[in-house]
């Protein structure tokens, strides 16, 4: 059966070699959340920034299940990003995203900074992050970037994994 995949407009996102924009948002771990800057994370080592649809949407669930299966959090600092609130992120961390932390960006301001906004059809007033992955080194230089160009579309996991391995 054929099904319709929606083409998303071109994203003007950070590319390999660019410096990823810095931002500060509440960062949720299994125990608490506090304001953290992306640069304070990269200062401690490479970061895989995983932007995804709101917690509870199936693409968010699938992406985290896959990341868990591949055990990326053992190899790199895996950090999620969605419009969900810290409370929702805490629930997600109870279920999956083992070893990861999640940025809460309910106003989607970071989505705008990264050029990965997605205005949701049929959910008035809600803009979220389109699925995207950015592998950043200690200076926030983009080592690998992938941004969905269709909706829904899933990351090229093998390519991300190769990029993590070549850090």
């Amino acid at each position: 059966m054929e099904f319709d995949v929606v083409e998303l407009p071109d994203a003007d996102h950070p590319e390999v070699g660019d410096t990823a924009p810095d931002f500060t948002r509440p960062l949720v771990n299994e125990e608490f959340w506090e304001d953290r800057s992306l640069s304070s994370l990269t200062a401690e080592g490479p970061v895989l920034l995983v932007a995804h649809p709101m917690d509870g949407a199936f693409p968010a669930t699938y992406v985290w299940n896959e990341i868990d299966d591949r055990g990326w959090a053992d190899d790199v600092d895996v950090v999620g990003l969605s419009i969900s609130t810290p409370y929702e992120h805490a629930s997600l961390l109870d279920e999956r995203a083992d070893g990861a932390r999640l940025f809460a960006d309910p106003g989607a301001g970071v989505a705008e900074q990264y050029g990965i906004e997605h205005d949701l059809d049929g959910m008035a007033g809600i803009t979220e992050h389109r699925p995207a992955m950015f592998l950043l080194d200690g200076d926030r230089t983009v080592e690998y970037a992938w941004v969905a160009s269709e909706w829904p579309e899933f990351p090229e996991y093998d390519a991300v994994e190769a990029a993590i391995e070549s850090l």
Partner: protein, 86 residues
């Protein structure tokens, strides 16, 4: 860049006892970072670990090496430590 404030406040959103401590910190112009925990006591292992209790507010003050909970105690401590002659 990652100059971490010496005072960490463990707090619960909308908790009046926590706000009382925040007012005092602000009054003395003290730099602090906020760590928010969840309403369920059972979800507050981090607070238990640092203070021995699951109640908030709790503060860790690296200036003095002190950790304490209960807003009344904290306010009194802040007044004594940072209140000056006022």
């Amino acid at each position: 860049m990652s100059d971490e404030p010496p005072i960490t406040l463990y707090r619960l959103q909308a908790c009046p006892f926590c706000e009382r401590v925040v007012r005092k910190l602000d009054e003395y112009g003290l730099d602090y970072r906020s760590r928010f925990v969840e309403p369920m006591h059972s979800d507050r292992n981090v607070v238990k670990r640092i203070s021995g209790k699951r109640s908030v507010p709790a503060i860790v003050d690296e200036n003095t090496g002190l950790t304490m909970s209960e807003s009344g105690n904290i306010v009194e401590y802040l007044e004594k430590t940072y209140g000056g002659e006022a």
